[in-house]
Amino acid sequence: MENWSLVSICVLFGLTARWAVSLNSYSGAGKPPMFGDYEAQRHWQEVTYNLPVHEWYFNTTDNNLNYWGLDYPPLTAYHSLLCAHVAKLINPDWVELHASRGHESYGHKLFMRATVLVADLLIYIPAVVLYSFYLSEGSNKKKVCTVLCILLYPGLILIDYGHFQYNSISLGLALWGVVVLGLGWDVLGSLAFVLSLNYKQMELYHSLPFFCYLLGKCFKQGLAGRGLFLLVKIAVTVLVTFALCWLPFLSDPGQILQVVHRLFPVGRGLFEDKVANTWCSLNVLIKIKTILSTDTQLYFSLTTTLLAILPSSIKLLMKPTLWQFKLALVNSSLAFFLFSFQVHEKSILLPALPVCLLLNDLPLPAIWFLQASTFSMLPLFLKDGLLVPYVVTSLAFLFFSIYLLSAFEHCSEDKLRLGPYRRLLICMPRMDLGRVTKWKFYFSITAMAGLSFMSVALAPPDQLPDLFPLLVSVFSYLHFLGLLLYFNIVQIAEPLQSVRKNQKKSN
């Protein structure tokens, strides 16, 4: 069968899975007075439609920032405005100022879910198809399998179509950036990434790799001539795009400051709720939130984050190839997730995207990470009533990706690039690290299944009401830490000059 028909079938299947998940509940359904992310998005449509631009980010009588105030960059606001115009055509009650607060209805839910689907179809899905066909290796059948597996990643489906968010836009634009850069169009790639950054400020997690990759390319082309020209072109593109996105706010410095203040709420503390990163896990043993002052926490997290991303960024600067770029994206965003300030559990989607791009090359570690990332958000899914979709999509993803990508066949020490581990463990008895990895994987999946079951079936003891979310987040944290180490080693251990017989991943 031809490629186009196979890809269409995969895309149709992915869309069906997405819409089927969207039939379930959303964040904050039926829970006044604050509801959840769904109401936040609806509220932003109301605010952007009814109020003038200079009031969107300010606390006014018509705009109470305590009730889901806008805290994403301007592109989100423009997108909400666009959706609001459509909503107004269908049913004006949905975006009526003040009167529509907490509005929930069958028709409105369909409309909101449809906006997510349209955005996904226009931005994220084409990027995935283009990536698989132009930038991944293998036979055509393998590329089609890659499309299917990336589209079936449960984390993104459950958050966008279940909990309710628009991550497919920001992640999709970032992916467009990767694809376009991979094809060699640096200026357009940086444009795409800047748009992505202006949709959600969390994309800053990806910014350092983009920066180092482009800078490294400029260095390689020689800063005296073409490199400098490229650098200037990219810098101008970035500045102009930023200016265009922030145009309505440029007239008043106070506007810009207020927006920045909304985007980076440093007053909110090191972390909120349970999240699978270092600070929350450390807090179990040492109550750092209470011991250190907010400023110290800020500097501490800043330093550790920078230290964690330094090796990967320097390596990318020295060797700006696509393979290094993908690994650096993973390492940078995962390091930010683990060590940064005010991280939410949904931010795991930021490292998850570049890991999806590694499904073709390192199937088993990628599948492991993606499953762990979905698992780490289990408490959120339980709160939203998404247990059945969580179980079904996780099992489906595990099954399809292991089967179609032959994950267990590509499990030798060589394929998993476990060379450095072998050198580190030289004192240990001779064992097959590939086999060890496989058994660790089985154990890990079983443990995740067990913890999931316990979270649902058992009630926590009275003295420890947060026992299960805590266990989930610590367990996930250990996985993320281990995988951060692994991906860093894979990236850094690669020689600077690609050896001829190991030519697989050089650009």
Binding site: M1, E2, S5, S8, I9, L12, F13, L15, T16, A17, W19, A20, V21, L23, N24, Y106, G107, L110, L117, G138, S139, K141, K142, C145, V388, P389, V392, T393, L395, A396, F399, F400, I402, Y403, L404, S406, F408, E409, H410, C411, S412, G434, R435, Y442
Partner: protein, 501 residues
């Protein structure tokens, strides 16, 4: 230790990998889609599991009143003694399937009590707790295992041409995909809610057994099926004549006509005893209690929708069609495949002319026809026409706005797959331009009915118009397919080729 590990490996690995002969290592690097071996069936569980996941994700979709029907039957069979099953009418959805199905619901109810005891209370009308929905949906998904097994057996019986082909081009793969992922079955069973997968599984298994020459098993399965849902009576004549002609008469004359001397009374008695014993098992208890008239009145509610004006021409047309079709397999039996063709014609004919026909009955023709479609070019063309229009005619079953994208996406998925795979298999276009234009017209009908008409002023005064347009438009395609199929049946009767049994 190493041996134990290898054994453990082959047990735990998902899916079971075939170890290449001659190589001891289990770490074979082979992409699953490349050169498959003829006996490597690992793709089959993958297809089956894949569609099962899709069914699971539809658990929380819309369900129709059929959901309440089956919940009610669970309650009746669990809470009441057998003597009351066919008299109970607290709910309007009284038991109107044969007794074997009632026993099936009874056995399901024993599992149901562990999910939610309240669903088994007869008075709890329209009871839809999350546990109830989960149980009912899972019961359909789990009983589909019969269907999956039947599809496997049908795939094994499919004829294929020699020559290495990539896996996706093999007829048995295409048949498996067309049956396991059949759009009609998915939306009727797993959204609308029914147990057709289970029932069609038994039908297809019976057909597979006949294709494999195991006629007694096929007859047994069909009798069981009849006692589960009596709508299959429509195709019982095809079975009856086929078994009588091709099984009870052991030899044919050289010209293919019946050799009366080869009649085998032993075989006839064997068939008869199967039918009678299954019937006894099913209806026995009710005959003993003297409730047979009551049961029959529930099964054949002629008071429902009786319309004198249409009675006579209906039966006449039905009788005529069936008579002609049966004479084909009597005079010139074409073996099991000829029987299958006749079965499909009977099923489709009963859909065209039968009494109180539901649109879901089109599946009775589509599913068995899939087997013929992967073996012959002409059949593939008719199949595409019948399937596309038949499946589209099921759209009105899911009238909720939330399910609209699902039915459109799944329809596109199945239609795209069936067209591209059959086109690749038979190398070339299977439909003429007129047929293609007609099918493209379905898109226009869909847009008209779901988008344009609801926004027009006539939506409130004439709300039935979309249904009318859908039914009439699809009836053209279905009738056309029926005529072509009937003609192909008669044409085979006319030519003098002999096929092996």
């Amino acid at each position: 230790m190493c041996y134990l590990y290898v054994e453990l490996q082959s047990v735990i690995s998902i899916p079971p990998r075939l170890i290449h002969r001659g190589q001891a290592s289990v770490y074979d690097t082979g992409c699953v889609m490349a050169t498959p071996r003829a006996d490597d069936w690992s793709w089959f569980p993958a297809l089956a599991l894949g569609v099962s996941f899709l069914k699971c994700i539809l658990i929380n979709a819309y369900h129709s009143t059929d959901f309440e029907v089956h919940r009610n039957w669970l309650a009746i069979t669990h809470s009441l003694p057998v003597s009351k099953w066919y008299h109970e009418n607290t709910s309007e959805w009284t038991l109107d399937y044969p007794p074997l199905f009632a026993w099936f619901e009874y056995s399901l109810s024993h599992v149901a009590q562990h999910f939610d005891k309240e669903m088994l209370v007869v008075q709890n009308l329209i009871y839809t707790s999350p546990a109830t929905i989960l149980f009912q949906r899972l019961s359909v998904i789990v009983t589909d295992i019969v269907f999956i097994y039947a599809v496997k057996e049908c795939c094994r019986s499919v004829r294929e041409e020699k020559g290495s082909k990539d896996l996706l081009g093999h007829p048995f793969f295409i048949l498996a995909a067309l049956l396991l992922w059949n759009f009609g079955l998915l939306i009727v069973d797993h959204i609308h809610f029914q147990y057709n997968g289970f029932l069609f599984g038994i039908l297809l298994l019976s057909v597979a057994r006949h294709l494999q020459g195991r006629h007694l098993e096929g007859a047994l399965l069909f009798t069981v099926l009849l006692n589960l849902k009596h709508i299959y009576l429509y195709i019982a004549p095809a079975y009856g004549i086929f078994l009588l002609r091709s099984y009870c008469f052991t030899k044919d004359n050289t010209d293919g006509s019946v050799r009366w001397s080869s009649f085998s009374p032993v075989r006839l008695v064997a068939l008869g005893s199967i039918v009678i014993s299954v019937g006894a098992l099913s209806f026995g208890p009710f005959i003993a209690m003297g409730q047979l008239p009551q049961v029959l009145s529930r099964l054949f509610p002629f008071k429902r929708g009786l319309c004198h004006a249409y009675w006579a021409p209906n039966v006449w047309a039905l009788y005529n069609m069936v008579d002609k079709a049966l004479s084909v397999i009597w005079c010139r039996p074409r073996g099991a495949r000829g029987f299958l063709r006749c079965l499909v014609v009977c099923a489709l004919g009963s859909f065209m002319f039968g009494w109180h026909v539901h649109e879901k009955a089109i599946l009775m023709a589509i599913l068995p026809f899939s087997i013929l479609a992967v073996e012959s070019r002409e059949d593939a063309g008719i199949f595409l026409m019948l399937t596309t229009t038949g499946h589209y005619s099921l759209f009105p079953l899911l009238f909720t706005a939330a399910e609209l994208p699902i039915k459109v996406l799944l329809m596109l998925l199945f239609t795209l797959y069936s067209f591209t795979s059959l086109k690749k298999l038979f190398r070339g276009s299977l439909l003429n331009p007129l047929e293609t234009t007609y099918l493209l017209g379905l898109v226009a009908v869909e847009i008209l009915c779901e988008v344009v008409y609801p926004l027009s002023p006539w939506q409130h005064t004439l709300p039935f118009v979309p249904l009318l347009v859908t039914s009439v438009y699809c009836s053209l395609g279905v009738s056309y397919s029926f005529i072509r199929l009937y003609v192909s049946l008669l044409r085979q009767h006319g030519t003098d080729k002999h096929k092996q049994l």
